[in-house]
Amino acid sequence: MPEDPYSLAELARLADVTPRTVRYYVAQGLLASPGAAGSATRYSEGHLARLRLIRRLQREHLPLAEIRSRLERLGDDEIGALLGSETDGHPAPAPAETLAFVRDLMAQSGVRPRVQAIRETQASYGAPLLRRTMSSSEPMTPTMPVSVMSASPMPAPPGPAPSAPAPTPPIRAPIGDRTTWERLSITSDVEIHVRRPLDRQANKRVEQLVRIARELFEDAD
């Protein structure tokens, strides 16, 4: 069987998206995952056509879930026909894609803003977006007795708020859609939450933390 024609970079360029956007669509189930992984990954004409149709549907403000269900019903021929028949609408924002595009530009030119202060209230912004990054089948419930997170923001502790601003952490704000929170259970009542991906160093420390925490609770028993 001949190899599929496009590399990730070529596919992204032809569809006018970033490679990150392609990976995001694959992760979201909008595009079939390509055969082989790694730098040798190849994408087919079908991938390109689907990618172009996704872009078009996004310009019509369709949510990803709706786009996914539409694409599922369509064969490659039907997608080709749809692409041929439609005229370009006016461009419109597709939030996740815009954010991924900006982050790509930032990474390319090494722009790394510092986030000035740890957010004092979770109510304003951190909470809804944090929730978005979690798997929807496992929402973060307020009944959890302990919630330890590996990155800012921490929810405000109960009791009086600290009066002085906290020192600036060299950590990016959790405003992404590429990261996911993982729940590591310590006991049936205690969990540690970790935002993935983490670098190797932090990973090691998390493992250490889990080991110590589990020992701690075993001791208490």
Partner: protein
């Protein structure tokens, strides 16, 4: 999308306008012709209804805090202007604040404009002081990230970039920045720019605002900073149609380009002129240059013109706007030479050429090429004089170019250059002297 539909049902829009006027209607059968076409677009007006809710906005303020902002309390006034602007927002709106020098700090992450978050912004801004150099690109990009993270689908998402100096860290090339800003505009984030004092590069900021679908403001006197920033924020609250586009359908024998400074896209048989966002009742005059190949005497050629926007405001407004067509007819030289002219179009075209020449003269003046600056004005003056006849307004343009020549043909103080450039910029974009959009009377 549901919010769009709710939005559509809620806001009643009335009296959109589209008129097109050619300067002349005959074209040459035996040679190429150049004609001008004036397109006047009037954004629909929001029908008065106190229960109406406007679309939310999402604004990213990006403030220069390089060392030079420390003088004349510039940074203090900038912070104050941002806070006042933020207080005009409602809890449905979002805002964020980034401060940049060579390092970039997110002062307020994207947040809804609740009283609580506005207070927090005030506390956090208080700690920002002036230092370092100017990474305008990085600051802008960080502002985009915040706006992107809170992107609202049916409202204005805009970065407001303030600077008083030359970009000297990160990407500083005008073309490259213009390209990036345009890419973000295609993805729903527009950019407006504010240049403070005499040390910034107005061509860079103008290019960014034009490519970014926003507006450029020159703030010669720091005391005006508040007015300009609140005025821009106020206009984002009144936008009724985002990314307004004039679409022209034309035969192969006709070529169209925009003389007015708006982005143009061409594809087979169609030209699109992107006007950016328009506020309720805003009027915009766009001049197009139309060129024709020769053709048979008596044959007619036409262009179809329609106007649309991302929100469908022009389509939905009452009474409905019809697409308009304009036609030209091929004729012999003698008929062409004696045909009547639409003087209103002539006046606007002459004004546009005069302002373009003045901006070119400012550029040459800055490079010390004084005589060439003077000649840039002479060229346009002679061309306008050739068709001005006894028309009072056209004579005025001619006289003005003659009287102002000595100003441009000798060294100008930088403040005068910036003021001249800005005055021309506003005229070319149908904006009034204080930087605001013009509205229907």
């Amino acid at each position: 999308m549901t919010t769009d539909n709710q939005h559509a049902g809620r806001i009643e829009l009335v009296d959109p306008g589209l008129t097109i006027r050619p300067d002349r209607r005959l074209i040459r059968a035996h040679g190429r012709s150049e004609r001008f076409l004036l397109v006047d677009v009037v954004a629909p007006t929001v029908a008065p209804d106190p229960s109406r809710r406007r679309a939310p906005v999402n604004l990213g303020f990006v403030v220069d805090r390089s060392g030079s902002m420390g003088g004349h309390n510039k940074l203090g006034l900038a912070k104050q202007a941002v806070l006042e602007a933020v207080h005009r927002l409602d809890p449905e709106d979002r805002f964020s604040v980034v401060a940049y020098d060579d390092a970039i700090d997110v002062i307020v992450e994207t947040a809804p404009a609740t009283p609580q978050d506005r207070r927090r912004a005030s506390d956090q801004l208080a700690a920002v002081d002036a230092r370092g150099s100017t990474n305008l690109h990085g600051g802008w990009l960080a502002g985009c990230e915040q706006v992107a993270a809170g992107l609202v689908a049916d409202g204005v998402n805009r970065v407001l970039l303030l600077t008083d100096g030359l970009a000297n860290v990160g990407i500083t090339d005008e073309q490259e920045l213009g390209r990036l800003v345009g890419q973000l505009r295609d993805r729903g984030i527009t950019t407006s720019t504010f240049g403070l004092g005499t040390d910034f590069d107005e061509r860079l900021l103008q290019t960014m605002a034009d490519a970014g679908g926003g507006h450029f403001y020159f703030i010669g006197d720091v005391a005006q900073m508040r007015d300009h920033i609140t005025s821009e924020v106020g206009e984002t609250l009144e936008v009724v149609a985002r990314e307004v586009v004039i679409e022209l359908t034309l035969p192969d024998a006709i070529r169209v380009e925009a003389l007015s400074p708006f982005r143009v896209e061409k594809r087979a048989g169609m030209v699109r002129v992107f006007l950016g966002d328009m506020v309720s009742g805003q009027t915009l005059s766009v001049v197009l240059r139309v060129t024709f190949d020769y053709g048979e005497v008596g044959r007619e050629l036409g262009i179809g013109v329609r106007v649309g926007d991302r929100d469908g405001a022009f389509v939905r407004a009452m009474p409905p706007l019809d697409a308009v067509t304009v036609a030209w007819r091929y004729a012999d030289h003698p008929d062409n030479d004696v045909q009547p002219r639409d003087r209103d179009v002539d006046r606007i075209v002459a004004r546009l050429f005069a302002e373009r020449a003045k901006q070119e003269a400012v550029r040459l003046n800055r490079e010390g090429r004084y005589e060439e600056a003077g000649k840039a004005l002479d060229g346009v003056r002679k061309r306008v004089a050739a068709y001005a006849g006894s028309d009072g307004e056209l004579r005025k343009v001619v006289d003005e170019l003659r009287e102002e020549r000595p100003v441009y043909a000798a060294a100008m103080p930088e403040m005068a250059r910036k003021q001249a450039h800005y005055a021309s910029s506003l005229l070319m974009r149908s904006r009034s002297g204080d930087g605001r959009s013009q509205r229907k009377a």
